[in-house]
Amino acid sequence: MNGIHSVQFSMGNSQLAGQQMSTFNAGQSQLRAAPRVMADTTLSGAHFYANPSASSASPLDAPSYQSERARTRSILDRYTKEWKSRVLDKSTEVSANSLTTTLRSVMGALMELGPGAIDLTGLPQSRVNGHHLAIVLRATLRRQETTPGWSHALEVARFALSYDGFDETTVLSGLMGR
């Protein structure tokens, strides 16, 4: 089965359930006490392990979530390094193949990690390659509301292209005025 899982059994002896919980590794383990919220819900198996109230437990505190997040972070960093190194290099070749390489990294991140995978905040205008940033903006055009820094990045691309002597209205055609 695809996915981390944890299976526990009790033989009708609650103390045994508690002991078995020490091997528990995948779920809602709660390392800090939090006040009950609305419902008072207890999972019998989890009761002896940690927090007695399932309602106050957040899946965001689970070690398994933290490890998955770290794994995602490393994938995201790899994609980001790929496309950003090309966007933040004025000498990156502007050709169909080169632009496709940038596009592939961006699309890979979006496909694998969803709309939040591209963060366009804080791009230093002085280092931006306007053509490659334009490709990133096109790839995220339909997701601009969920892409941090999209509008500002459009301005950055416009200034970078203009500064480098290109006609920004042509390169950014279809993106401006949105």
Binding site: Q8, V37, L43, S58, P59, Y65, T121, E145, P148
Partner: protein, 264 residues
Amino acid sequence: MSATLQNAPLVELVAELRWATRAAGQAEGEVQADAEIDRYMDTFAAAVAEGGYLRSERLVPLGAVVAPHQFCYRMKRLDEASTTSLFQVGPGVFSANGVPPYESWNEFTKIVEFGLDRLLAARPSFERSSPITSISLRYIDLFDARLAEGRTVEAFIREVLKLNVSLPEALTRHSPEGATPRPFLQFQIPMAGGVIMNFGVGEGVANGQQGIVMDMSVVTTVETAASVHAIMGALTTAHEAIDASFRALIEPIRHLMPNKEKSA
């Protein structure tokens, strides 16, 4: 759009989000709740009061050390008896919680949107544009004896949820004749787009009632832009995944939970 079920086993529905807070960078992972973070929570409390959430409870004593992502305030409606939703905030954390009588997902989203709108405007200036690092949507359900049709947790898991797990003789050899193992199962299931589904089921108690507790959540692992639109998009995706899985899982007892006439 899926219809709301009669007799739904929902105990609690929780939409939670977190963002990096200045507190998170402090030594030992804890900070004194500073004036600016307190101010943001006060601002939020005042803002949601306009929507009827007039009762604000402080969850940690004044002056106490507050950890990042620890809830400090809870905002409820004045009439607690009829409370079906509340908000909680703390440094880098927000939740909207709902309990029955749950009308529909659409009704709950209105509450969440209301809270999010106020939250994003109230966050401390140094965090206002910070992306949301984690979003979680969680459903806690309790199947009582009637909904479980008298099944044991082991039978429920096997016959209704269609999860088949068996113990080897190495473990059952210690069990007396006729004793039935009581399982407690948890799964972490990767989904597309950097999202995870968590699923847990086992015996439990909710509001004093014994039964089979099922805990399903969908959580993001990639940052989300700090906009109501983006956050609600993530929550909607999570809801659709949980709703589809839940309906498929409960199919064998679906006759006990007919659709409500009003669609959700």
